[in-house]
Symmetry: C2
Amino acid sequence: MTATLVPVFAALGDETRWSILTALGEGDASASALAGRLPLTRQAIAKHLNVLQEVGLVESMRVGRELRYRVLGARLSDTAKRLERIGSEWDHRLAAIKQIAETL
Amino acid sequence: MTATLVPVFAALGDETRWSILTALGEGDASASALAGRLPLTRQAIAKHLNVLQEVGLVESMRVGRELRYRVLGARLSDTAKRLERIGSEWDHRLAAIKQIAETL
DNA sequence: AAGAAGTGCAACTCCACGGTTGCAATTTGT
DNA sequence: ACAAATTGCAACCGTGGAGTTGCACTTCTT
């Protein structure tokens, strides 16, 4: 469930994937439905949705004969928190190093 | 200065780039110095450092004949904040949509 | 002055990724 | 039972990114 961080960033590092996410933000939808709104083939979209699902940014559920997808905003918030932590730790470490370097 | 968000994620979506960042976390270093610690050519590292610099995750400064790089933790924190925002907005929107759907 | 250390640039290979097309399989509605 | 809608799978193509090698250029050091 808690996919490692890097693949999540890789998934978010693609413009068209964001267009799919924002399109999904208008409401849950299937790959075919999204293909109607975006300049992409259904299959291309399906591939992207798989990527997004594998890193937990999206979840799917069957509704009759269609697979409906939903954005998981929580995953974004979670990722953000982890990134924030790393960022602040980095600053602390750099500050510590600077201290040491200056006291030499 | 404030590079668009997506390229930053693309830069962070690479395992070896993280290894470079963490290596840099031990203290500022040049591409050649890093090449001594990582299983990569100096040129490969230089390319990655360019990518990281273009999205503002790293800054460089000349010291004699070498180019020394430093991690910018603040950029990570900044990116995290923006991501957090997007995530929460998403949840709000989804909640709103759910409301509407249920009151139909 | 000369060699060592470091950077910059260019060309090349390899492969993963985004995208497409085509067809089979499943499910729904009438 | 049949046609339409939807998904699933596989093969294929093109491009860009990661990495390497090789060489020229600059800058220390002695």
